[in-house]
């Protein structure tokens, strides 16, 4: 009788032991849609509003084409290299073309095809983020070659290191939703691309001002909403973890926005809409690695830090260093990713009173150890991304006879030059 009871008590569990949780599935189906929405139209609109109208379509086209290419690469071998067994540095080809993965395959509590597409949306947005670094001047063929190569040579390995059971995962590095995997890699990639391709013609003298800030604000709103799927979905379950991840994400975004706008108000006399949405992206990017590990009070601190640090870095790079990372990918995403990955190592600590988080990663026992691991992850990712991106750009330059359109074409604008279309015929 006791045995029976025991058995019965196990029933609901065991019945679902190697099967899926449908509620988790419902949420991740949604989260997948939300993260795709972040790129199309979200990010592409955020970026496209910031360029001049003669280049608006080129930015939309680049984001769109990258999304398509990344999806095919992900199916062909990307998923397998990132999440396949493999070794500490890279996966293998065991799941190329989803070999052996069917409707009934399970990954955690999800159908494996769902885990595949959820992760795919991250592989889509990361190279798309880089577009902001070289906007308004790269050849379309170079864009495609560079971003595809970059996805394969940078994103897939780093994703494997951190999320695919690679060496950083083994060290207990904390990166909940991609502060390192997504934002540091994209930020550094954009910075290197901006340096290699050089500044836009007229940078520092002509008025390279946003042609349509309403478009940028639309994209910003979509990014914020979509980020709920990005961070909340990274809990890979419909539960309190997902809810808390969404909560801290939201608070950090709000805090980052207000901080940036406040700094502008103080420094320049007026807060701007571009400022507030940039603060939002900074807040969101910075909380990303920490979102599953920290509590609400900490998220407020993280958001405010994001606003301050990214604000000053943007000025530093554009005004001081005169690097034309055109849409400020590095100071916002790269710096945000670094800052957030670092702060995750502090605020995950369960011993900070109201600022406490939900515990250290791996075998780490205290903030110092965790920060050590986080720092190794940051430095390794930064260095690896910078080096690979640099050589990749050089190789692509050889393949496409230079990655930059010529002077006349830059003046005419990429919409006509690369796509024979114009954005507006009002």
């Amino acid at each position: 009788m006791r045995a029976l009871l025991a058995l019965l008590l196990l029933l609901p569990m065991s019945a679902f032991a190697d099967t899926i949780d449908k509620a988790d599935t419902a949420w991740i189906l949604t989260a997948t849609a939300l993260v795709l929405f972040m790129t199309l139209p979200g990010l592409s609109f955020f970026y496209a509003g910031l360029v001049r109208s003669k280049n608006v379509l080129s930015v939309l086209m680049q984001c769109f084409a990258i999304a398509c290419l990344a999806s095919i690469v992900w199916l062909a071998f990307g998923y397998s290299l990132a999440f396949g067994e493999g070794n500490a540095f890279i996966g293998d080809f065991s799941k190329a073309f989803l070999n052996g993965v069917g409707k009934d395959s399970v990954s955690g509590t999800l159908p494996e095809p769902l885990f595949f597409i959820f992760q795919m949306t991250f592989a889509i947005i990361t190279p798309a983020l880089i577009v902001g670094g070289f906007a308004e001047r790269m050849k379309f063929s170079s864009v495609l070659l560079f971003t595809t190569g970059w996805l394969i040579l940078v994103y897939l390995p780093v994703c494997h290191w951190v999320w695919g059971g690679g060496w950083l995962a083994e060290m207990g590095m904390l990166d909940f939703a991609g502060g390192t995997v997504v934002h540091i890699t994209a930020g550094v990639g954009a910075l290197v691309a901006a340096i290699v391709i050089k500044n836009r013609h007229g940078f520092g003298s002509a008025n390279l001002i946003p042609h349509n800030l309403t478009m940028t604000v639309a994209g910003a709103g979509m990014l914020w909403v979509g980020w709920f799927g990005f961070n909340g979905g990274s809990a890979v379950a419909a539960n309190g973890d997902a809810a808390m991840a969404m909560l801290v994400t939201h608070i950090s975004a709000a805090a980052g926005s207000l901080t940036w706008a406040g700094l502008e108000w103080k420094k320049y006399g007026k807060p701007s809409v571009l400022g507030i949405v940039t603060g939002m992206v900074a807040g969101l990017g910075t909380i990303t690695p920490a979102s599953g590990f920290v509590g609400p009070a900490a998220s407020l601190v993280i958001g405010i830090s994001a606003g301050i640090v990214c604000f000053y870095c943007t000025n530093l790079i554009k005004q001081k260093w005169k690097i034309d990372d055109s849409l400020d990918v590095f100071p916002v995403h790269g710096v945000g990713g670094i800052l957030g990955t670092f702060l995750a190592g502090i605020f995950c600590s369960p011993d900070l009173g109201i600022f406490s988080g939900y515990g250290f990663g791996g075998d780490n026992q205290n903030i110092a150890q965790q920060l050590g691991v986080q720092s190794i992850g940051i430095v390794a990712t930064f260095a690896y991304t910078a080096i690979v991106s640099y050589f990749l750009l050089k190789v692509v330059g050889l393949m496409t006879k230079g990655i930059r359109v010529d002077h006349e074409q830059e003046i005419q604008g990429l919409d006509i030059v690369s796509h024979e279309e114009r954005g507006y015929n009002l």
Partner: protein, 112 residues
């Protein structure tokens, strides 16, 4: 016939148009332009980068009238458009040799 070209502040257009209607000016053509003059543009800031917008939005009116009426029209425009602030604009007068109404082929003063 003379052509009167007036560069005015955009928000004054409606007042100028009404005033001209009252003195029986039958037609005019309006164009949005950017002006450069004593009135300075402004500095816009995008993510901390300063961009100077040298030009100020203005509205250009072109009115072809019988030479007799030039002074009345100019006075009317001045009264309606003046705010006594820098940037109120200018009026230029030039000669028109011929005018034709496309619909009817009428010429000269009849065509205005």
């Amino acid at each position: 016939m003379k052509k009167i070209t007036a560069i005015i502040k955009p928000h004054k257009l409606d007042e100028v148009r009404s005033a001209l209607s009252e003195i029986d000016v039958k037609g005019m053509t309006v164009c949005e332009v950017k002006g450069f003059g004593r009135q300075k543009g402004h500095v816009e800031l995008y993510r901390g980068s300063e961009y100077t917008v040298d030009f100020v939005l203005k509205t250009k009116l072109e009115i072809v009238v019988d030479s007799d009426r030039v002074d009345t029209v100019i006075d009317t425009i001045i009264n309606a458009a003046r705010t006594n602030k820098i940037g109120d604009g200018k009026i230029f007068v030039s000669d028109v040799i011929q005018t034709v109404r496309i619909r009817t082929g009428e010429q000269g003063n009849d065509a205005i």
